[in-house]
Every structure is written in C-alpha cells, then in structure tokens.
Subunit: 363 residues, 2 copies
C-alpha cells in the first residue's frame, strides 16, 4: 500500500496540467456565447480539481504501449464529460458549493439578483436555466474533444466513433440510471436497502465512467476498435472497481471530511437523506432509539447543525464509517490483480498508486 | 406557392414513419433505466410531430444524388437532437403541454405526487430532475444515432466524425446562445429591441439546426468531408433561412393558433414576455395608452385570460401579426433561389414545397 510516493503526485500533476491547458486552448473560447454562458462553462474547469479520470485514461494508454499525447483530447473529453454531470447534479442536489466556489446555478442566480434586477423567484429560475444549458454545452464539448483524436490526431476514425458511441449510449445511460436511482432511493425507507443495491447504484454513478476512461485510453493506445482486447478489458475492470471504491470514500468524506479541503459542505448528504453503505451499516447496528434518531434527521432539510453533528457521531460509533472503509479497501484489493496481464512497467506502478490514492485521499 | 400538393404530404409522412420506426428499434429500448426515465425518453417520440428536420435532411441527401437509406440514422439523430432541446426548453419555459400531452417535467412531477407520496415541492424538484436527465440522455442518443451512419452503414467514418463535431460544437453552442438570449431578452425593456436582434436570436434558436440538417443530408449523400461543397452550402443556406421563417410562424401560432391543433397552450408567450417581431411591430405602432396596456400584460405571469385576449387583439390590430407574416414570406422568397445550383428534380420540388409548408402550416 506504500506505493504513493512523491513521484506519483508529480506524475498526476503533470497530466492534470496537460489536460487543463488543452481545455483552455484559444480555439474553444470563441465557442461560448453570451458571456454568462462562457463564464459558467469554464467555472469548474478554472478551479482546482483532482482530474483522476483523465489521468487514468492517459496511464492506461501508456500501459498498453501507446503514446499519451495521442490521447490528450480524449483525456480532456472525460474530464469535460464528468464536469457536465457535476453541473447538472449540483442543481439536482441543490448544492451551493463545488471546488471551493459557488455551483453554476447558485452563481448565476446571484448574478441575476445582484446585477439584473431579478426577483428572488426569477433569479432562482434563471440560475436553474443557466445551469441546465451549461451542462448541455459541456456534454457537447466533451464529444467534440473526442472527435479531435482523429480530426486533429492520428487515432483511426472508426476507433474514435466506437468510443463516442460507447460514451454517449452505454456510459451516459448507466450514469443517468445511477443518478436517478440515487434520487429515488433517498425517498424510500432506509430499511428497504441492502449494500448490493447501494454498490450497484454507486457503480452506475461513478464506476462506469472510470471503466470507460481506462478502456478509451487502452483502445487509443492500441489504435483498435476491439472493445474485447484483453489488456483493455483488464484495465477497465480495474478502474471500474476503483471507481466504486472512490465513491465509497466520497461518501465517507461527505460525512467526516474537512469542508475546506473538500471545497463543498459536509453534512448535505445527511440532509438530502442519501442512501449510503454508511447509513446502512449504522442503521443495522442501531438500537431502536438510535434508529429513531437517525430516521428523524436523515433526509430532513431543516436539520440543525447540532442534529447533524449527533448523527455524524452515531454513524461513526455504530461502525458505518469503518465498515464502509473496509469495503472500499476490499474492492481495491480485488481490483489490483486485474493488472496481472500487463507487463511490469512504470505505468503499472502508477496505476496501482492511483488505485490506493482513490481511497486514501482526504479531498 | 401552390406547390403543396397531396404528393408533398405523402412524401413527408413516408419519411416521418421511417424515422419514427427507426427510433423505436428494439435495440434502443434496453438502453434506458429505470422505467420512469425510459417512459420520459420516449414520451415526445411517441406523440405526433411534424419531423420537419429529419424530412429535410433526407430530401437534401436525395437532392445531391445520395441514397436516402444511408441517411436514416442521421435523420433520426436530428429529430432526437431537437427532442432533447424541447424537453429542456419546456422546463425552462415552465410549459405544461407539448404535442397534446404533458411536458416531461410536468408528467414526472404528477407521478411523484400521485404515486410516490411526494409533497408539492418535492414533486416539483423531482419533475425538474427527471426532465434534466431525460434531455441529457436524448442528446447522447442523438450522437449515438449519428455514429451508426458509419458503424452500421456505409458513410465514411471521417464524414460522420465531421458531422458529429459540427453538431456538438457549432450547432449546439449556437442553439444554446439563442435560448439564453431569449431568456435574457424577456426581462429587458421592450423598447430596447430591433427586429435584427430578434431575427438573430430566432436564427440561433431554430435556423442553425435546420441549416445543419440540410448540410448533414448533403454531406452524407455525397459521402464527403467537404463542408464547403457548393451544393451542400446552397442547401444549408436554403434551410437556414427557412428555419428562421419557421420560427416566425411559430411565434404567430403562439398568439393566434388553435390550441388543440398545436398541442400546446396559446398565450404563454405573452405571459412569459417573449420578445418577438410581433410585439416589436405592435409596440412601434401603438399609442401611449396601448403601449401601457401591452407593457402591463407582456411578461405578467398572473395575467387573466381576458387580459391575454385583449393583448392578442391589440397585436392583430396594430399590425404585429401581419408584419411578421410578411417578413416570413420575404425570407422564404429569399431562400428559394439558393436551390438554383441544383438540377431540377422531384427532390427539388419537394424542398420548395417543404419551404412553403414551413410558413403556411397551422400546427
């Protein structure tokens, strides 16, 4: 587990910069109009982010012997694809903060109130509208970036088309199904869930795009349309599992993380009543009184800071956090052997370090 | 102008059926999950629609000597692309009806209230969420359909990639800019507009996708990546203008159309305060008292049926409707000569009939 060396973080940062600077290419800046749309489209891009999806796409490309520079537009594409889902999910979850700044709908709504003379309700609608349109544009941007692997690079056009179709049907539909289940679950009785259902939902929400990122990197590296290539499958099985574990860690940080480091509020998952393995295990181990207390606060939008803190304490004491942590470690443990089909290399080491980082990160 | 023969409607219907049945292919049905998402994704598809975009894409393909069957997935793609914009725009415009049924957000909200025990506010959020995710999926479906021109057909992969990039950057961004301007305009003083600004906004909202439809049909028909091909440019200039005229007719029908035939409420543009050439010309010709009356009702969400009716009367009397009608006819008149570069053919006749229909339709 001690593979997280300085080297890994330097390698991660190098790729993060490549992707960020590609997204800030002059060509794109003229695409977005009027100004409020342009600012909204770039807002999350301009903030610090982990860029774990583009990183693993590039590493997968290198791990199969491909040239990483051919995959940079695709790396930028998965980052942009992730970004539009954040913009829409933030609106759906009514979240105010993201990456240390306001979410798109909150920011646009504030501008409408402060600079456009909108009433409270008009401003709320306006914020919603700009966030919807911004995410829509970003989805299109992601697809356009993928096109450039062939239109501006040397990836065979049929490889790129295969990747676009996979992203826009299989991945997108899986991801939306996960988001829909997440919304629906929050309103269903907490007793009605088992961890398998929750893990399936998490995989849909997060694992699928990680799975795709590795597969895209490998297929570009090999310049092949063969989605069943042994190395591509191994890499995507690996990142698919890591993605689910990542989301478990995300759920943990959503309860006991540091707001400043995370850049978003802690406790909103409790107010939204998100169904997580944390609440599942805590509820399972709770006394009738503790169950009543949990039920009272989970999904209660009016819950006070004090009530939230008490529930956080309960989730810790009842083993919800520790059990979820163990589950995330187990999943990463199962993911690692997938890489056995790859020859040993610097890339393989980086991928294993990447996997450890997915669940050891505190931001 | 008398080119609208029975023949034209039969030809239109034939293509409408081809596209509708392609969209209902079994393969796609398994893509969408859970059930509420699946129903929402198909809801507008299952209702009667004009399918003017796919029709003109197929006609453009034929007009350059291409095989229409090669363009069917692309025709389905522009219809689906249009559909997702409807789903998101209906939410943005707070519209309740579309094609004779409830809009996606209204329908999902009703289900949440009636079958899921949601409160009024929870149901409203849920309707919003399902509509956002449904439009997102439909955008991806549109792109996937385009991919199939090459992955399942004989269009060169680089042609399809060129078309995907054009749709997902140029067309999408133009369209969203039009929608954003439309939203922003509605809150700005009615005196601050001129018809050119309104026509530019309408072209962005509607003309750009019509322009694209013809260009895509022609490029597929010629199997070329050359976006500057003379015939492709002529056809897309033609449909680009027709698209703006179509939207002028849409604005007219939004004021004096028949609700039942239209499948959506008449008068909501007045309540939303949409800036149209109709309101522009009426306002220009109005007395100070009439101006005050118009200002009082345009953009007033609480306006009564009677107030709306009086404004409709004013818009008619002050020449807003007739002036807009003339403008639409003038634009179609300017569009027609674009087709002179094409040899005479059955397709060319159908395209000219299609142009007339764009502004003579009453639904």
């Amino acid at each position: 587990m001690a593979t997280q060396t300085v080297d890994f973080f330097a390698e991660l940062e190098k790729r993060e910069k490549l992707v960020a600077s590609y997204l800030k290419t002059e060509e794109f800046k003229d695409w977005f109009y009027p100004d409020q749309i342009k600012e909204a489209v770039y807002s999350y891009v301009n903030r610090a982010g982990k860029r774990l999806r583009p990183a693993v796409l590039l590493l997968a490309c290198g791990a199969v012997g491909g040239k990483e520079e051919e995959a940079i537009p695709a790396a930028a594409a998965v980052e942009m694809f992730h970004t539009w889902t954040l913009v829409h999910d933030d609106l759906i979850d009514n979240d105010e903060k993201r990456r240390g700044g306001y979410t798109v709908h909150t920011q646009s709504s504030l501008i409408a109130k402060q600079h456009m003379n909108y009433t409270e309700n008009q401003a709320k609608d306006y914020g919603r509208d700009i966030a919807i349109l911004t995410g829509d544009i970003q989805q299109g941007w992601a697809v356009s970036l993928l096109c450039d692997c062939s239109l501006k690079g040397n990836v065979k056009p049929e490889v790129t088309l295969t990747l676009i179709r996979m992203l826009e049907s299989y991945v997108l539909n899986t991801l939306v199904s996960g988001e829909t289940l997440d919304i629906q679950f929050a309103k269903q009785p907490i007793e009605s869930f088992n961890p398998d259902q929750i893990l399936d939902m998490l995989w849909r929400k997060t694992g699928a795009l990680y799975e795709y990122s590795a597969k895209a990197g490998a297929m570009i590296g090999l310049n092949t349309t063969n989605t069943d290539d042994k190395k591509a499958v191994a890499l995507s099985n690996f990142t698919s599992r890591c993605g689910t574990a990542f989301q478990l860690q995300d759920d943990i940080l959503g309860i006991i993380g540091n707001e400043k480091q995370l850049g978003k509020p802690v406790g909103s998952d409790i107010r939204e009543g998100k169904r997580t393995t944390i609440t599942y295990y805590a509820f399972k181990n709770a006394s009738p009184q503790q169950k009543a207390k949990l039920k009272n606060v989970l999904g209660n939008h009016e819950a006070s800071r004090e009530e939230i803190n008490k529930v956080v304490q309960l989730l810790l004491e009842l083993g919800g956090i520790s059990e979820t942590k163990r589950m995330a470690q187990r999943i990463i443990g199962e993911a690692r052997p997938e890489l056995d089909v790859l020859p040993d290399s610097h890339y393989k080491e980086l991928l294993l370090a990447w996997a450890d980082f997915m669940i050891s990160r505190d931001f």
